[in-house]
Symmetry: D2
Subunit: 292 residues, 4 copies
């Protein structure tokens, strides 16, 4: 009946005619729609500090037949269907820029903690082995995830000699992975609002029977459904930015775990590199050295 | 007298002949050299649970005249002079890969917390205004910092129409900033082991009187010394990886604060983009929508 | 009635049953379909050295009602609708690799000569002025044209301070040109098999009333139809490669003409650069200098 | 005695006091210093239409002891030691922009013809085989040569599954080739004013015993001296631009020759790609198709 895009607008349009208790519910939902989506009416009431029946009346005031209908729309929102415009609109409440900035840090800390607490270490270990055993390792990421793919590739390249970062460029992603075989591994990095091209490309290589490792935000994400091994790290959507801080932390852990298995090799490589870096002054030496 | 590179090797070579108490000191230093460097002998003893004189004897055993000499070498290490090979060697103690991975997450959380706690908000606010008032905004980052520069540029590009990411490419960084004027802003992202070329380029543009905003790890970093405004976010060196998680969190806060000031503009831009994204299926829609 | 893809296959399938004279026609068409497409039956006969009626019978043998029908299919081929697989198939005749390689050079020379002979210099001059007067200059090219766009941007960047190369990357091309205004210039480089995204993007910016300069292969190309000023340089399709040699020559002429108008500025810039290049040893000096 | 940089300035400073015949020599040298450098006084006189003794007096007027001294300075200029500022200064004579533009095309045509005429086909064939037999194929190019490297990689990537373009990026060129072995091939593209980093990197991989194929402008270029196989294509220096048209033509010939050897493989690849390109509307179809 109602477009899911309506829920945020609906609340905003009706805000003035809500009762004081209903306003508390409205504010909670706008700030925490991702949590509210998975609460019963009773639970939502408890968290906000109002009765279950107030929650139901709140749904009715917005034009829903019941709480379940409102919840359906909330689910839609959460399915990463929030457009960027809706997300900017949600931050209107945070009139204070300082608070908004602080919220970024807090959410980032919470996300890394959650990623760490919920990390399935056996799965993580399986990913490490799969990467070490791949004939070729492709690291795929588009849009903002392309920076994570580049970062992961930058470090894997020190350890392994068969790594290829796949991102937007003169050749499209299919052409870059045209020769994937069943002995290869594709690491796909996919975050809301999930790039279609990343998903298409993962489906394409899946058809070639290679191993797919997904780095994504939830076991329910479309990338997780394509992946053989899924590593979860939450992203953080504040306003129009998708913070990729927790995924970067996960990627660091992954790089170090892989590096640990190849410690001797990389020690040799880095010994070579140290002398190259020194010869070409790649890194800064402090003034004391310069005087030496 | 002794090359600073010696300290880590010195400890490792002499480890077997250390007393049990001295081994505790050795292990603590190898895992926490960055903290140990700033402790007195008394304090170091206290933390490790040994006497001050044990700490002094430990220094002597390694061939130092006293604790102060050992501390000098520690200071050198901390001045980001640890080569990558030394850093890999330091992780040898963490024989357990699981623990090492966990340490990454914990250090990342600690770094964001520290960045958040110590953020000079007035300074942050000044950076936001400076960026908004720049005729052109250059975002410079090389090596692993190039991913942060790209990420910051990716988002600033939605808000502002005068942003240029400067990173390694066909044109070198000087050529890319050849026309910087005193009305422009250069955001330089510089993390240990500080790329010399980034510092050279910041000095070059500084000579053209533009505003320099440094995003770096410490007020003592060489980039901070060139910058008009310095934003601090700690990096996290574990083994051969420099985690840039806290800087990314800081960058997110910066993007959102700038976006807040241009909220109306970006709402319009994103409305345009939403229709383009829809037309070209840039983002994934779930199966339910596809059936609609 | 017949799919245009059929013509090449049709000739190949029927080759053995063609008469000796008809084989001459077939061979000529496969090697020169782009010329043959614009010949009358009489002219084609003349070039090949057979009678007009032989040409007509050739068409009939392939199942066409007359030469005009065959010619229609030829026209379709020429409209850059030849798939890459068809083009590889066309080179099967050139069993001799050496001859094929030589053909590349010869076609490239012919293309530059043609580009030079047919250059509308007034139009070229108008393009130079438009670029010099643009508030911003965007240089758009995708796929193999992205190398030309990068090359043009590389040099324009020495002369002008408002040039932005637009190519596939983390941000899509629309986002990169989101803020184009009517004071800006977009140079679109578009070659067969014309990237759809380039054409979509040119149409998008056209809607914003900016000036569009097309660098393309023909006045009939889809890019020419969107452009305010069209600069023509032929491309060279041999097998699966689109040689962009003549467009590169045209781009060189364009860069130099723009540079001539800013000679004093660029002399200053290059004086700065020479000292930077020297300081950072960007270019090789021969051994004699090194001894000095 | 005299810095080679002086010759051009010397001529320009003394121009007014030259005799009419001497002016003819001066103009010829400034426009054709690359040819003049290899002429005897007699030959130069003949070409310009003056006597040999006029040429010698011309040298004396500029302060040289004899023609041989002047010629030495000419040789220095030709050794690609002309700075960009000198080259811009040389084009001052071409006051007519139209003529200058035309000169670009003419020189480009002459360069391709020369490249074609002087191509050592056996050598070319050897390069093709070496590339086909390499375990990995690295394509290295920096600065303006990076566009040629990207272009060559773009096409080789369709044919081979072991190609890596090496150019400036987050990782430096040494890191990108850290794992080169004696089974690998490195194609180095190096044009005046020869990037030092390209030469350093070629020397670095040479030390790892891989095969080096140089694409460069002369058998005397520093890249040629490092290469096992050298492919020559002239570049074209007009003003501040190095036209890479002839090298691009050579690269096209190389791609096609390699493709010919793998014709069956690439036909299969392109059949796959055609269906992907169609599904994702990568290429433009004309309006007629759209109506179908």
């Amino acid at each position: 009946m109602k477009e899911n895009a309506d829920l945020i607008k609906l609340i905003q349009l009706n805000f003035s005619k809500l009762s004081k208790s209903q306003k508390l519910i409205a504010e909670y939902i706008m700030a925490n729609y991702d949590k509210a989506a998975f609460m019963t009416a009773a639970k939502l009431g408890e968290v906000v500090g109002v009765s279950e029946s107030t929650v139901v009346r709140f749904a009715n005031t917005l034009g829903y037949d019941g709480y379940r209908d409102l919840q359906n729309d909330l689910h839609e929102l959460v399915k990463n269907k929030l457009t960027t415009v809706q997300r900017i609109s949600l931050t209107n409440d945070y009139t204070n820029k300082e608070n908004l900035s602080k919220r970024v840090f807090k959410k980032d800390i919470a996300n890394i903690s959650k990623t760490f607490d919920e990390l399935d270490y056996d799965n993580f270990e399986k990913a490490v082995e799969t990467i070490l055993n791949g004939e070729r390792v492709y690291v795929l990421g588009l849009r903002s995830s392309s920076f994570l793919a580049g970062y992961l590739g930058f470090y894997l390249n020190f350890i392994l000699n068969n790594v290829k970062v796949v991102t937007a460029g003169p050749s499209d992603v299919f052409e870059q992975m045209l020769k994937v075989t069943s002995n290869d591994v594709v690491i796909g990095i996919s975050y809301p609002r999930y790039s279609s091209r990343t998903l298409d490309a993962l489906n394409y290589v899946k058809g070639k029977d290679c191993k797919v490792i997904g780095i994504t935000d939830s076991i329910l994400s479309p990338a997780a459904q394509i992946s053989d091994i899924t590593l979860i790290a939450n992203s953080n959507m504040v306003s129009f930015v998708d913070s990729l801080v927790a995924p970067m932390s996960l990627i660091n852990a992954l790089i170090i775990a892989i590096g640990m298995e190849k410690r001797e090799d990389i020690t040799n490589y880095f010994e070579d590199l140290e002398s190259i870096w020194k010869e070409y002054s790649v890194y800064n030496l402090n003034s004391k050295d310069k005087n030496n």
